[in-house]
C-alpha cells in the first residue's frame, strides 16, 4: 500500500469510527395508542436522518406511569425519553428530574406549540416536555336522535340543555340512553370528568390556602346534578364505565350523548368500527354560565430524564417526533385524518386537515377554552384542569373517585360521599404537610 493509500484508509477508518461513536441507541418508554404506534412504524425515517436507533418500550398507561416514576425517582437511567402527561410534567420539572427543552432549534418553531399545551407542560415558564399530541373533552352526540326529538344542539350548550336533552332522548326499552359519562373510579377516570365538570359549576378542589372544598355548595350541586342525570338518563351499570366502555356503547348506537376525550372523535366517526359513524355531531363541553366549561386538557408529551447520557440524541428525537415535518410525514403515509392532533397551531391553519377531519375545529376550540393555569371560577393555588398537579393527588383523588363511584352505584348519597371525600382529602393533605 502506498503512503497515500494508507492515509486515505486511515482517514476513512477515523470517519467511520466517529460516526459510529455519535450514533446512539435510544430507549423510549411510551403508551399504547394509535398515534404512538404510528410513530413507532415511522422510526426508520428518524434513523435514516440521524443515524440514531430506537428501542421502544410500550406499556399500558398506568403500568407506564408506575414504571417511569420508579425509574426517574431512583435515577435508574433505563429510559432516555419518557412519554409523560400534563400531570407529571410540572411536578417532575419542579423536582429537577427533567431536562429543560429551552434550546430547541429555530427550525423546530417552539412558538407554534398551542399556548394551552405549552402552559401545561412548562414549569416557571420553561418547557420541560414537548407535546406529541393533545386533547380536550367535548360532547359527541347523535344527530339523528336529536333530530327525531326535535332538538338542536348549540355549539356551546349549557348543562341544563344537556340534561334536558338527555332525558328526552332516553328510551330504555330500546336500550338508548340519553347520556353516557364516566363512572369508573380513578383519578384519571371518573375524577377527570367530575373535576372538569366541577370547574364549570364553580367548584374547586382547594381554596387558596389549600383547604379542601368538598363541603362547599358548589361541589354538592355538581355531584347531585351528575347523579340525578345518570340515574335518569344514563346506561345501567354506569359506575364501572370508563372511556372504553362508553366508546363501545356509543359505537353500538346506545348513547345519545357522550362527553369525553376529543381523541374519541376519530373512533366514533370511523365506519369500520362504529355503527353510527355518519350520525355524529360535536359541541363544546357544557357550562353553567359562570365562565368555565366542563372540558379538560391533556397532552401526551416527550420528556428527557435528567442524567441521561444521551441528551443530545434524545433532543434530536423529540425535535423529529413533535415537528411540523413529522405531521407531514404521517399525512403522506397514513392520511391527514391520522396525524397527531392538538399540539401545533399550524395544523389548524391547514385547509386540507380541516376538511379531512370533521372534528378538528371543535377539538381546537375545546383545547383553547381550557386554561391549566386558571382552571376554576374562583382562584386556586394549583395548576391543572382535571387534576391538581401535586404528587399526592393521584392517591387521594382515586380514593375520592371510589366514594363518588359508590354514590353512582346507589350505595350512598351525594352528601355522604362528599363528607367522606372531605375527610379523606383533609387527612391526606395534613399527612403531606400542607
Amino acid at each position: 500500500m502506498t503512503l497515500k493509500g494508507a492515509f486515505f484508509a486511515a482517514s476513512a477508518l477515523v470517519s467511520v469510527s466517529a460516526s459510529a461513536l455519535s450514533a446512539e441507541v435510544l430507549t423510549i418508554a411510551t403508551v399504547n395508542n394509535g398515534d404512538m404506534i404510528r410513530m413507532q412504524k415511522l422510526t426508520d425515517d428518524f434513523t435514516a436522518k440521524t443515524g440514531h436507533e430506537v428501542n421502544w418500550v410500550t406499556l399500558e398507561e398506568n403500568v407506564l406511569r408506575q414504571r417511569v416514576t420508579t425509574d426517574i425517582t431512583t435515577k435508574g437511567g433505563a429510559f432516555d425519553i419518557m412519554t409523560i402527561g400534563m400531570y407529571e410534567t410540572p411536578i417532575w420539572a419542579a423536582n429537577g428530574w427533567l431536562v429543560p427543552l429551552d434550546d430547541l432549534s429555530a427550525d423546530y418553531d417552539a412558538d407554534d406549540i398551542l399556548p394551552a399545551m405549552r402552559g401545561g407542560l412548562s414549569h416557571d415558564g420553561t418547557l420541560y416536555a414537548a407535546p406529541f399530541y393533545g386533547e380536550s373533552s367535548m360532547i359527541m352526540y347523535r344527530t339523528d336522535l336529536f333530530e327525531a326529538a326535535g332538538l338542536e344542539m348549540p355549539e356551546a350548550p349549557t348543562w341544563d340543555f344537556v340534561a334536558d336533552a338527555a332525558r328526552k332522548i332516553t328510551d330504555r326499552e330500546n336500550e338508548i340512553y340519553g347520556i353516557c359519562l364516566r363512572g369508573k373510579a380513578g383519578w384519571g377516570e371518573n375524577m377527570a370528568f367530575l373535576t372538569a365538570t366541577a370547574n364549570s359549576f364553580g367548584a374547586r378542589w382547594f381554596d387558596e390556602n389549600w383547604t379542601p372544598q368538598f363541603d362547599s355548595a358548589a361541589w354538592e350541586e355538581t355531584l347531585t346534578f351528575y347523579l340525578d342525570l345518570m340515574n335518569d338518563a344514563g346506561p345501567p351499570g354506569a359506575s364501572t364505565n370508563g372511556f372504553n366502555e362508553n366508546l363501545s356503547l356509543f359505537q353500538q348506537g346506545k348513547c345519545g350523548m357522550w362527553i369525553d376525550a376529543t381523541v374519541a372523535a376519530s373512533f366514533v366517526t370511523n365506519p369500520d368500527d362504529s355503527t353510527v359513524a355518519d350520525k355524529v355531531g360535536f359541541a363544546l363541553a357544557p357550562d353553567t354560565g359562570k365562565g368555565k366549561r366542563g372540558n379538560w386538557l391533556w397532552a401526551w408529551a416527550l420528556g428527557i430524564p435528567a442524567g441521561t447520557q444521551k441528551e443530545d440524541a434524545a433532543k434530536e428525537f423529540i425535535e423529529w417526533a413533535t415537528s411540523k415535518a413529522y405531521i407531514e410525514l404521517v399525512a403522506a403515509n397514513e392520511g391527514w385524518a391520522n396525524v397527531p392532533p392538538g399540539a401545533r397551531t399550524s395544523l389548524y391553519q391547514n385547509e386540507t386537515y380541516l376538511s379531512e377531519a370533521p372534528f378538528a375545529e371543535m377539538t381546537l376550540k375545546s383545547i383553547n377554552s381550557a386554561d391549566p393555569l386558571n382552571p376554576t371560577v374562583d382562584p386556586v393555588p394549583y395548576v391543572g384542569v382535571q387534576f391538581v398537579a401535586i404528587p399526592e393527588f393521584a392517591g387521594f383523588a382515586t380514593d375520592v373517585g371510589q366514594e363518588f363511584s359508590a354514590a353512582l352505584a346507589g350505595q350512598q348519597t351525594a352528601q355522604q360521599a362528599l363528607a367522606k371525600a372531605q375527610a379523606l382529602v383533609v387527612d391526606a393533605m395534613e399527612a403531606a404537610g400542607y
Binding site: 430507549t27 399504547n32 410500550t58 399500558e60 420508579t70 435508574g76 372504553n244 366508546l247
Partner: protein, 276 residues
C-alpha cells in the same frame, strides 16, 4: 339397583366436573375466540360466540408490530433459569429440613413462607436501587435471581412435603452401604422424589412465566418477557381487545402446550405423595 345409582352418580359427577372445568377454562376460550374476531365483533352486544367471520388479521398485526421471538426467548430463559436455580438450592434445603430437622425447622419454614406475605410493591424501591448498583436493570440474570428468590419458599415447601413422605430408613440404608451425602441426595432421594420434583418444577415454571410485577418493573427493552409483550397491547383509551387477545394467546400458548403435555405428571405430583 345399587349399580344403577353408582352410574347415575358417576354421570352427575362427570357432568359437574366438566361444568366446573369449562367454567374455569371459559376466560381462556373466550380470549382465543376474540383473537380471531375484528375489533367491532370483539365488542358487539350481544356477543358473537362462534358464528363470525374468522380472521387472522390480529395475529398479523401483532407479529408485524412486535418482535415476539425476543419476548418468548426472554420468558424461556427467565422462567427456566429461575426454576432450575431455585431447585438446585431448594433440594438440599428441603432434605435437611425433612430428614435432619432441628427444633427451629418449623419456625424457619413458616418464616420462609412469611416473605410471601409482603406485598411486592413494598420492596420495589430497595430492589430497584440494588439493581441499579449491580447493573442488573433490564438484564435476564437479574430477573432470574429475583424470580428465583420469590419462588424459593414455594419450591422448598413443596419439596419438603414430598421428602417427608420418603421413609428415612431408605436413606439410612444407603448411608450404611457407604453412600456419601451427595450420593444419598443425588442417587437415592432424587430418583424416588422425581414425580414431586417434576411437579414442583412445572408449577414454578408456570408461576415464573406468569409473573408480571417484577418482570414489568425491572425490564425495559432488552430483557422484557411475554408479560411486557401483553402489557404493550393494553390501552385504557382505545378498543383493541381483539389485538390484546391475540397477544395474550401468543403469550400463553407455550405454557399452555407445556401444561397440556405434562398434565399427568403435574396432577400426579400435586395429588399424590412422592412414593405412593
Amino acid at each position: 339397583m345399587a349399580r344403577a345409582v353408582t352410574t347415575q352418580r358417576k354421570a352427575i359427577n362427570t357432568t359437574l366436573a366438566w361444568a366446573v372445568g369449562l367454567l374455569i377454562f371459559f376466560p381462556i376460550l373466550w380470549t382465543i375466540l376474540t383473537s380471531f374476531k375484528t375489533e367491532a365483533q370483539a365488542i358487539s352486544d350481544p356477543p358473537v360466540f362462534l358464528f363470525f367471520d374468522w380472521t387472522l388479521e390480529n395475529y398479523a398485526v401483532v407479529q408485524e408490530r412486535s418482535d415476539y421471538m425476543r419476548f418468548l426467548w426472554n420468558s424461556v430463559i427467565i422462567a427456566g433459569g429461575s426454576t432450575i436455580l431455585g431447585t438446585i438450592i431448594a433440594i438440599p434445603a428441603a432434605w435437611s429440613m425433612a430428614f435432619v430437622p432441628s427444633r427451629r425447622t418449623k419456625d424457619i419454614l413458616l418464616w420462609m413462607l412469611s416473605t410471601k406475605m409482603l406485598p411486592a410493591v413494598g420492596v420495589l424501591y430497595p430492589i430497584y436501587l440494588l439493581f441499579i448498583k449491580l447493573g442488573w436493570l433490564d438484564s435476564r440474570i437479574g430477573l432470574v435471581i429475583v424470580l428465583m428468590l420469590i419462588n424459593l419458599p414455594i419450591i422448598v415447601w413443596m419439596l419438603y412435603t414430598y421428602f417427608r413422605e420418603i421413609p428415612g430408613e431408605i436413606l439410612e440404608a444407603a448411608r450404611m452401604d457407604g453412600a456419601s451425602l451427595r450420593e444419598e441426595i443425588l442417587y437415592v432421594l432424587t430418583p424416588m422424589a422425581v414425580p414431586g420434583i417434576a411437579s414442583t418444577i412445572l408449577l414454578n415454571i408456570i408461576l415464573a412465566w406468569n409473573e408480571a410485577f417484577w418482570t414489568l418493573n425491572l425490564t425495559a427493552a432488552k430483557a422484557a418477557p411475554l408479560t411486557a409483550f401483553i402489557a404493550s397491547y393494553s390501552s385504557p383509551e382505545g378498543l383493541f381487545y381483539a389485538k390484546l387477545s391475540a397477544a395474550s394467546v401468543m403469550a400463553i400458548a407455550p405454557i399452555l402446550i407445556m401444561g397440556w403435555f405434562s398434565q399427568k405428571q403435574l396432577v400426579r405430583g400435586l395429588t399424590f405423595g412422592a412414593v405412593k
